[in-house]
């Protein structure tokens, strides 16, 4: 409502003033080529600039008194040029690190040279290229301290993003993502692989990562895991610019899980099986993994129009992506529409920034149980039978069962894919209106308002025909036809004042921000009964309630002071007061302060004249951030929930649904992380070498930790309480260099490396309680009821493996079921399990390089991870004879069986440290070659071509399919629930494809 009021106000505005026109051309100092897309503004204007065309030319109308134009471009910094009467020639110098860049920080912007915190920016020219279905993949390997791991090879699957190791154990470790000023919820959207997949990667201009608390504390209780600010492209005044971008790709799997061939399988069964089992074998030789994978074709097209109608800059983009998965039947179709308007009114006193984006997806999710199914299905059986039953797919039959199918036998993997129709049709719209009003009577004071929304609808259904073996019921009433739906309405309102002033008398500059923020996250989750394929309802499957409306809310007040003295001593102090609805009254509000100091050493007299040092800045920061994401909305509240009808209890002959009290913790509050950071930014040789080094320590206390409650003291044995401490310490280093910079040839190199050490320092109410071994995590498949690979214990990193120590024979072969009896009591039991390595890497790095020669360019991105270990659950589960012969039907085994000869059936063997191995790796993420054809169509257009290969190769000693196992695997199931997996446990990962993509970009 108030937004509309303000919109109405614009209409009274006056756009007219006395103008004159200035023309000119902008070129690159490197090679003299024209620079397109450079923003040209009158000095002092907040908006209302133009951008240069494909030929580098521009024409701008400015007010009479304007004497200076400001030229800015991402990667080239800012340059001020005085204007005379005639056309002007401007030469911009590219800077490898873009030190003059304007960086978006929380509630404002800052020049990169003036930053006091650990902040990193990646802009479009440094994005990874190729087939991108979620935008964060574009900055993988580009920023020290930031690890981005795609959760799987499924199109649209999200990534696990960790900034400096993640601050939490049981609460969320995901950073806060802010899109053009709208903080996004990390909650999954049903029917979509990732909440970020709705953003068209082609619309993104830059990512800014706030890593330390002094930078992030302005976001208070949401900032413990860092903040990623995504800024999208905006319009600029000037003539219409059209850009067409098309990427077409084909992807394929890079390898298969190593299992017995049909011939190997036959000989094992013939040698070891009973007569009945030998007779069970078929005559075929089927490679089931070949059956379920395909070459994945994809196309991604974006058309964008930008320009300005008078002083009304706009940008409109439309994207369409159609991406198949390498798993057959997997497909994602996505349409995105983005619209921005950034006009200014009242002589630039009111700047308006309107962002609206909408997208729809139509996804079919391949049934991922086929991945494990293909590993273990009997390779001697054919894919199809002539019988029309079960869709014509071969299945294990049992004439004595009611369904005709073997109970508990695996189903035909290809049948699982083709006979499951799992469709998601989510829609999302995110938008905001930002007003920046410069007071007429006090131009140093700005009033800013940001009103935003994030509305989405997750919906879809799962249909399985009644002929499908996976849910066959005798009599033809099987299958399923189950819809799901959830709508979300998140609203944001922020208002703040910004006062900036140069205090020349005391050589100071002041920049103060203070404001208020309101965020509301409201969903409506619909509950449905279950249905068979023929639309008849499964008896008694009605939910207890037709819908649920989970909601949480944040209120905040924040302030920031930036003070600069003599342009070389910088102070930033921030404070945020946050209130969260997730805690009980009395525990809702908290303070989150930070302070940072920076010293531009190179501006001191003793260095000012040293030409080789172009930048040297020391940064010190300390701050406290909080965390309240990833915990229940009402965990503090004593409430009762009614059971479903299928969980009723019979008294007499009536059935009653039951009220269950939930465990609750009235003392629950946020966890907090205190971060100290020391950083040094450097630049040498006219900034041809730039970079930074940062040392940090993050101490998280009051961990939101799911801990055991004393039995009998509450309704639940485990729930979230604020108990425990954890530290992350590390070093980040990055260097960007331009070894060659000449007219025809440039060579850029970027390298970053991070060392992070995680340690749990307390987990119990009584610190130092040694009787508490820790909490297990990391589910291992292969046993029912949960067996865990990790034990998270005090004094060790999280995700540390806790297994039996395998005993080997003289030839180095593991002896099945024989482990080191650590306490020498003659029995091997849980007390003989030992801690070993962690699944989390100690070191990770990224290396990028790019060479430009005349119209050609070529580059690659390497990414590595060291000190991380994986548990090969495929070996442990399927690498034994029991896997093949120990069930009612035959199953295929991992070729690891040929190495170990394990008989199987020993429950402890699953917990052997034989199955963990070093999963350090170096991955060639991306190689690309580009050709800038320059002007075509008589100078009307510019054409650029790009050929890239993603996931080129991996160098690793790890013997499984892929050493990189993200924390969130398997990927989100339709219906919205993300089943959180574990890093480092390798079991039926959706393979990451190797993709070859050809990109064409035409600009008019």
């Amino acid at each position: 409502m108030p937004v509309i009021l303000l919109l109405l106000l614009f209409l009274h505005g006056s756009l007219a003033a006395q103008k004159r026109a200035i023309t000119g051309r902008v070129t690159d100092s490197k090679d003299g080529s024209p620079l397109q897309g450079v923003t040209v503004q009158a000095k002092g204007a907040v908006s209302g600039g133009v951008i240069t065309g494909v030929d580098g030319r521009f024409k701008i109308a400015v007010d009479q008194p304007v004497k200076v134009l400001v030229f800015s471009s991402v990667g080239y910094g800012i340059q001020e040029v005085p204007v005379g009467d005639g056309p002007i020639q401007v030469v911009l110098t590219g800077s490898a690190a873009g030190l003059n860049e304007i960086v978006v920080i929380g509630y404002g912007t800052a020049k990169k040279t003036d930053l006091t915190g650990a902040i990193a920016t990646v802009s479009e020219k440094d994005f990874q290229k190729g087939t991108i279905t979620t935008p964060e993949q574009m900055i993988a390997g580009k920023i020290p301290g930031v690890s981005i791991i795609s959760n799987s090879g499924q199109p649209g699957a999200g990534s696990t993003i960790r900034i400096r190791g993640g601050a939490s154990l049981n609460a969320s470790n995901d950073p806060l993502i802010v899109l053009d000023g709208v903080p996004l919820s990390n909650d999954a959207i049903p029917g979509s692989g990732s909440p970020l997949s709705f953003i068209n990667a082609d619309d993104v201009e830059s990512f800014t990562v706030l890593k330390d608390a002094s930078a992030a504390a302005i976001y208070g209780t949401r900032a413990s895991n860092g903040v990623i600010i995504i800024t999208t492209k905006k319009g600029h005044a000037g003539s219409l610019k059209v850009n067409l971008n098309s990427v077409n790709s084909v992807g394929s799997i890079t390898g298969k899980v190593s299992v017995l061939s049909a011939a190997q399988f036959r000989s094992v069964v013939n040698a070891n099986g009973t007569a009945a089992q030998i007779a069970q074998m078929g005559a075929a030789s089927t490679d089931w993994q070949d059956q379920i994978y395909q070459a994945a074709i994809g196309t991604n097209n974006t058309i964008s129009l930008s320009g300005g109608i008078k002083a009304l800059p706009y940008r409109l983009s439309f994207g369409y992506q159609d991406q198949n998965g390498v798993l057959k039947t997997d497909n994602l179709r996505k349409t995105t529409l983005s619209f921005t308007l950034n006009p200014s009114f009242f002589d630039n006193h009111l700047k308006v920034d309107l962002n609206l984006r909408g997208s729809t997806e139509t996804a079919r999710f391949g049934n991922q149980s086929a991945i494990g199914g293909a590993v273990s299905f009997d390779p001697t059986q054919p894919v199809y039978t002539k019988s029309p039953r079960f869709g014509g797919y071969y299945e294990w039959l049992d004439p004595t069962s009611a369904t005709g199918l073997q109970n508990l036998a695996g189903r035909n993997p290809l049948g699982l894919l083709n006979e499951t129709y799992n469709r998601g049709t989510p829609e999302r719209s995110i938008g905001n209106l930002q007003l920046d009003y410069k007071f007429h009577f006090l131009p140093d004071l700005h009033a800013k308002v940001n009103a935003g929304y994030d509305i989405n609808k997750g919906a879809g259904y799962t249909f399985v025909p009644d002929s499908a073996a996976s849910s066959y019921i005798a009599g033809g009433t099987g299958g399923e036809n189950n819809p799901y739906k959830q709508t979300t309405t998140n609203t944001l309102f922020e208002a703040y004042l910004n006062y900036t002033r140069d205090l020349k008398q005391i050589k100071s500059h002041l920049d103060v921000v203070g404001g208020y923020s309101y965020n509301d996250y409201l969903s409506k989750v619909y509950n449905y009964a279950s249905f068979y394929a023929n639309d008849s309802m499964v008896v008694n499957s009605q939910p207890a309630f037709p819908f649920d409306k989970p909601e949480h809310r944040l209120l905040s007040y924040f302030g920031r002071l930036n003070y600069t003295f003599e342009d070389r001593y910088l102070l930033t102090a921030t404070v945020r007061r946050d209130g969260s609805s997730r805690f009980a009254p009395g525990h809702q509000w908290g303070w989150f302060p930070s302070v940072a100091l920076a010293w531009k050493i190179n501006e001191e007299r003793f260095l000012r004249d040293v030409p080789s040092i172009s930048d040297l800045k020391l940064r010190l920061g300390f701050g406290i951030t909080g965390q309240q994401d990833g915990i229940p909305n009402y965990g503090y509240l004593a409430d009762y929930s009614l059971s479903n009808s299928s969980a009723s209890y019979e008294f007499g002959s009536n059935y009653y649904q039951g009220y269950r009290p939930a465990g609750y913790n009235p003392a629950l509050t946020w966890e907090q992380t205190a971060t100290s950071n020391i950083g040094l930014d450097y630049g040498f040789l006219d900034n041809r070498i730039t970079g930074s080094i940062d040392l940090y320590e993050k101490k998280t206390s009051h961990l939101l930790n799911t801990i055991p409650q004393p039995a009998g003291s509450n309704f639940s044995a485990f729930f979230i309480a604020n108990v425990g401490n954890m530290t992350n310490k590390g070093v980040e280093f990055n260097i960007n260099a331009q070894p060659i910079r000449s007219r025809n040839l440039t060579w850029d190199v970027g390298f970053n490396i991070t060392y992070n050490e995680n340690k749990i320092t307390n987990l119990t109410v009584i610190p130092g309680d040694t009787s508490y071994i820790g909490f297990p995590s990391g589910n291992i498949a292969g046993g029912i009821g949960g067996q865990f690979a990790f034990m998270n214990s005090v004094g060790r990193p999280k995700n540390t493996f806790f297994l039996y120590q395998q005993v080997y024979d003289k030839s180095g072969k593991p002896i099945e079921g024989v482990f080191v009896d650590q306490n020498k009591d003659g029995i091997i039991n849980q007390s003989d399990q030992v801690w070993s390595k962690s699944a989390d890497p100690k070191v990770f790095l990224g290396f990028s390089t790019n060479v430009t020669f005349k119209k050609w360019s070529a580059g690659f991105v390497l990414r590595g991870s060291f000190g991380n270990y994986d548990y090969n659950n495929i070996w442990s589960q399927t690498g034994n004879l029991t896997q093949i012969l120990g069930n009612s039907v035959l199953y295929n085994a991992s070729t690891n069986y040929l190495t170990t000869g394990f008989k199987g059936g020993n429950g402890q063997q699953l917990l052997s440290d034989y199955y963990i191995s070093n999963a350090s790796f170096l991955r060639m993420d991306n190689i690309n070659v580009g050709y800038n054809a320059g002007k075509i169509m008589r100078g009307q257009a510019v054409l650029r071509l790009n050929l890239s290969v993603q996931n080129v190769f991996v160098i690793t000693k790890y013997q499984g399919l892929d050493p990189e196992i993200a924390a969130a695997a398997p990927p989100p199931t339709p219906g919205g629930s993300v089943s959180l997996g574990n890093p480092g446990i390798d079991n039926n990962l959706y393979p990451r494809p190797r993709t070859i993509a050809l990109g064409i970009n035409i600009g008019f």
Binding site: S643, G652, F715
Partner: protein, 536 residues
Amino acid sequence: MKRNQSSIIITAAAVLVVLGSCKKTLDLSPTNDITAPAVYSTPAGYTEAMAKVYGAFALTGNTGGTGQPDISTQIISDEGNSDFLRMWFNLQELTTDEAAWTWENDAGIQGLHEMSWSSINPIIDGLYYRSFFQITLCNDFVRQSTDALLASRGITGASADTIRHYRAEARFLRAFQYWVLMDLYANPPFVDENSPIATAIPKQIQRADLYNYIVSELKAIDGDLAPARQNLYGRADQGAEWALLARVYLNAQVYTGTADYTDAITYCNKVIAAGYSLIPSYPDLVLADDNLNTDEFIFTINYDGTYTQTYGGTTYLVHGPAGIPGSVSGSNGTWGGLRCTQDFVSLFPDNSGATDQRAQFYTNGQTLDMKDLYTGTDGFSTFKYRNVTRTGGPAPDADAAGNFSDIDFPLFRLGEIYLIYAESVLRGGSGGDAGTALNYINLLRTRAWGGNTAGNITAADLTTNFILDERGRELYYEAFRRTDLVRYGEFTTSAYLWAWKGGVLGGSAVADKYNLFPLPSTDLSANPNLIQNPGY
């Protein structure tokens, strides 16, 4: 123009002030969940709360099958394993000659039959936490159902009387769970309706003190429970209370060091005098329509294929036994897990069921000898639990997929009372006599022989050792075996060895500490008041 601008400024400033001050509340509440005063505001609400108190026995959570577990996944990650009966059965039976489970990789299985468990075992931990879950539900109900609260909520008359019965039943269920904890873990923490939620750490209670509490609590509720055989099916009455007292007294020597067989006989007599009788045919005992067996059943846990769905409970006892086709068990097939040792099978002189019909063994494809502990075909399995009606028809409330069982599980039935009576008489309790004891045993044996007295025994045959074997034959797979073997001193010692006891094929004695289960290490870390059982 000027006027225009100042009006804009004023308006914009006003908008900012208005929006800045619209500080909305942070106190949100859930949509569907309600608070305790709302639940306990009507008689219907009390009934729904009571449905959960009872349902905590049968169900694993708030959704049939799996979905909203009661027990945290940190304790048991597979919800289907987290119900009371499946875990109790596993601890009472898999540790004995009666049963072994094929799938060693299933969490907590390994070490149970071999008797080498530790304080980190999801089944041992799980039953402990499940028992306390029901105890805290009972406490909550008892707390909310005082006469004063009922009066203050305007609940009077017949509704109030019903709730008073509920209250006594909640206390009975709590006493039952404390008996389970006393029997398996000896010295658990103790909480009752006076213990606050979320703000206090429970104290540990010693086994003998817990015994006194259980006995006095059961006696205290006697007048508030419905008379024996007078309550609605599925709800506890005086018969259940007396039966539990008889069971507790039978094992008094184990729990307190002092035997009390006389009181055991006293309470058996009270049960028997209430007019229970054996149903005619043993094979009809635990079938889908066993709700008809109210002559014999004293108190049951009720399951239903449509309304009370669980992967534990009798669903487990239907699917669990190895090798039994779905057409026999009345389900969609076997999970291939449960088998008996040859030592147990040999308690029956004839394992075909032709004479003693209680020998309901499935032998097709199964070998008698359990050569390997973890091979599904080693050892006979039993089809005692079948999800079919007496006439062989499908279960009345069967689910279409054939997953869930309709069989109600008898926690107490007359057969056990007869056996307690006879054993207590033989062990010197007064208030009964040997002739009646022999008669009761022969009632069981006549039924076992299909109404034929050929299997009847003489007074000379009736010894305590005979009773132990007879309890095996009559009550097997009803979660008695471990308690019985402990009472007879045969559980850990070499007095009785069975296949794979102690982890060796021929069986071996194990340390005495295995007569008790350890307290979960998770609770020891959470509750500094606890002291672990000796040896763990």
